[in-house]
Amino acid sequence: MEKHKKILEYTLSSLLRRRYKNLAIITVFSFIVAALYSILFLTHSLKKEALTVLKEAPELIVQKVSGGRHDLIPTDYMKRIQEIYGVGRIIPRYWGYYYDAITDSNYTLMGINGTHVLHSNSKDNENYPSPIPLPQGEGARGRVKDVFSDENIKGLKLLNGRMPSNRKECAIGKGVSDVRFTGIDGEIFLIDSKGKVLTFHVVGVFASESAILTNDLIVINKDDILELFGMPSDRATDIAVEVYNELEIPFVASKIREILPDTRPIMKGEIIRTYETLFNWRSGVIFTMFLGALLAFCILAWDKATGLSAEERQEIGILKAIGWETGDVLELKFWEGIVISFTSILTGMIIAYIHIFFLGASLFAPVLRGWSVLFPPFRLIPYVDLYQVFVVLFLTVIPYVASTIIPSWKAAITDPDTVMRG
């Protein structure tokens, strides 16, 4: 044990003799590791959050497809879908996009009749009717009964103010509120399909905690959205279909395609798979960034593995000449690799955690933002996958230590005189 301590002590003295070079290696190594961990932390956290909340998405969305494009769907289709066994509530969805020329941003507009849960959380809910009734009977939305029970939703801050209950009222996302400099009791102007300016009274602003879902959202009355977009009253954007038994969703989807061939049912499983792919670290730009960092690490390790500096070779020669065994030299180099790689890995991991979970991935935001004017701030929940943490740990420490030991082993088994002479 004493021998190992002495070798470690010598290793640290040796590293300190070349302090600027080693400090540079530790800095570069730490930043590469920080980049790798940042990508893994960001994608895992976003994926976990998306998959958790989107489990509550509608079981089936039925779109009408015309000329290969999404078209408005006749509300008559609901009667045909209702005939399918196993189908629960069928609700038409009214939504669309609005380009705001004042701010150069795109909003998502959604028309509602009102929702029970959101209203029971708003300040004047006693006087507000509940046009979408809560489920009746056994089995209807039973799996979420407990989660959304009145006891559980008390105290949840979904929106400040309330949801729109009358015509020309709206609830807006935090992003819209910021970009239009408006809030509760303010007004928002939108131009309808005939060029007429419609004024909406802001009665609610979604809480900033939910910005990842509602940042660009403007929720208005269903009749207002029909007027704004000039939609016929017998058409909806798409139809949400509830299926009691999740196992029957593919069957119901194929049945809908059979009886309504011009439609495209989108299953909840497909929505979830989309987000699994979207936030997979092995996809798109995220993978490119990951690969870049990994390549930088490989170059660093390769540089170490391809040879020792003249100074290092001379040091090994002197150590051998004064009686160090080959095993001792290898242990010295092992500790050198461990000191540098462990210091860098742990520092990189801490930097990555602070970057993603305290600074909201501020370095990646410009890349991820793209051309979006309204982009939600990342308030990521720190979901950390220990498997990923250990994979990166082993993938960087072991190659680096190996790349430090192998060239030293070659020098250590050579005659000290030859090594010292270079």
Partner: protein, 102 residues
Amino acid sequence: MKYKIFIGLILSEILLILALYVFSQMLIERRSIEITAKKILVRELMLTDLSIWTEARYTRHPSQADLFTPFQDFPSSVEHFPAGSIIAPPENIKTWKSIKRY
């Protein structure tokens, strides 16, 4: 002496990482109410997508995009938006034999 400083440094970094991990678990627990609130929003407003990229309709609602998006203007047209390059092609495109009609 130097090795004691080194071991102290490594141990303090490990302790900091462990503290951050414990902090994460506590924060996940504390923010579980926020997740419940988001689930209510998704359920009651029937949302299907996250509001991250608002630059194009297929980046705002990737799960609801047309089957041939992003080649929406003409076949083989180039992708316009930076966010589109973040999204990898779906699995069924990579193995096109398994394409389903729904």
